[in-house]
Amino acid sequence: MVALSTFVQRELRLLARQKADWLNPVLFFVIVLSLFPLGVGPEPNLLRLMAPGIVWIAALLSVLLAAERLFKDDYRNGVVEQLVAARQPLLSFVLAKLFTNWLSTGLPLVLLSPLVALLLSINSAEFVAMLLTLLLGTPLLSLLSVMGAALTVSADKGGILLALLILPLYIPLLIFASSAMEAAAMGLPYHGQLAIMLAMLLFAMALIPLAVISALKLNVS
């Protein structure tokens, strides 16, 4: 493995220099969340009922927003191409991208969850469930969106295409995450849902980096 740390360092440095890349999606998440009460009315019970769906759909959209640009710069300036030619460093590059993508978009969502709980009048039991599902779910979300971004990096039209690719793959995560939050709201155990989410995450962690590598390879060919 070629020095993973230097790759991570490079990505972090880039994030520090291009703050809009990760601040905008986080801001977008908060905006979407605050738009929902304006749309459906500020009734606390209604909001609490809808919270799981709202949180997870907003999370999906903001992560997709961040993922779209993930490989664009490095594709345009030839870094991807030259790393593919060099073969060996490609895995480190992909892992660094995945890790920093979660760090810059998934982690802020986890950190913002107390704010979400306030906005959507969620009680403490549900909040814990939301925190846990976000912790387990956002890495999976990052993995999926990075894969979509890698598949479409040389495509003529990005945006909507990325959403279309990711959407069906994202559905199991949406179902189990929101069901865990609903179970928590009703005072039921939700270990089962968390276990399934963990299983999906581990499965994705094993396979998706390989899919990303082959996606990058075919995009430079």
Binding site: L14, V79, Q88, P89, F93
Partner: protein, 232 residues
């Protein structure tokens, strides 16, 4: 087959290229019957291509003749539509990792991230090619970039960016260099310096494949020119 240029992770501070084995005429890369089809055009077909150790191969031709496409095939980025490649007499697909470990490919795009400084870009490529940290200030100064080391590369001119990109050639220990338009945007002194460096690399048994529009101003001991015709 064991690669001759193994990457050694040592703590050297000054770049001392490892002495290459005795320069030989060993056939490094051989393409037989290569064919490339892009979009709806046959760029070339039945192309035979040989690169020996110590040889510089210049690929010339008009825009759109398929120079870059040929380089991308040679760099194993794209599979040829027909024909096959051999690295040291072995099919490339069988020894792909060995080949990649002995190859330095710099494409049409520089591989320089504009938000990073010259130093950061260089140290990225250093670790990507598995080489220990060294004094990049000296190297950049040698390339005429003194005082520009820690400025984001987007502030540099096109020629300066190209120099940062090519600085990799001064520390890489790969035997085969594949360079797409290395002279673009460079001024006369930089071109001369680069050619001087090419000569040193060839002397040590390295091999270079490059595309360029202009003729090389320096004469190399072993130089081949391949002219690609534009085809309809």
């Amino acid at each position: 087959m064991r690669p001759i240029f193994t990457v050694v992770d040592s703590q050297i501070l000054v770049i001392t290229p490892q002495p290459y084995p005795v320069p030989t005429d060993e056939l490094l890369l051989h393409g037989a019957g290569l064919c490339c089809i892009r979009q709806d055009r046959v760029l070339f077909e039945q192309l035979d291509f040989r690169v020996h150790a110590g040889e510089l191969v210049q690929i010339a031709g008009k825009n759109g003749a398929g120079k870059s496409s040929l380089l991308r095939i040679l760099a194993a980025l794209v599979a040829p539509d027909d024909g096959s490649l051999y690295y040291r007499q072995q099919p490339l697909t069988a020894v792909a990792s060995d080949y990649a470990a002995n190859l330095c490919y710099i494409g049409h795009q520089s591989g320089i991230h504009e938000q990073l400084t010259a130093l950061e870009n260089l140290s990225f490529w250093r670790s990507a090619s598995g080489i220990a940290k060294a004094d990049d200030f000296a190297l950049l100064a040698e390339l005429g970039l003194a005082g520009l080391e820690d400025i984001p590369c987007r502030m540099l001119s096109a020629g300066q960016q190209r120099r940062v990109s090519l600085a990799r050639l001064w520390f890489t220990r790969r035997q085969l260099w594949i360079l797409d338009e290395p002279f673009t945007a460079l001024d006369q002194t930089a071109i001369a310096m680069l050619q001087q460096h090419f000569a040193e690399h060839l002397q040590q048994g390295g091999a270079i494949v490059l595309t360029t529009h202009q003729n090389l101003s320096m004469a190399f001991t072993r130089q081949t020119t391949l002219e690609l015709a534009y085809r309809w």
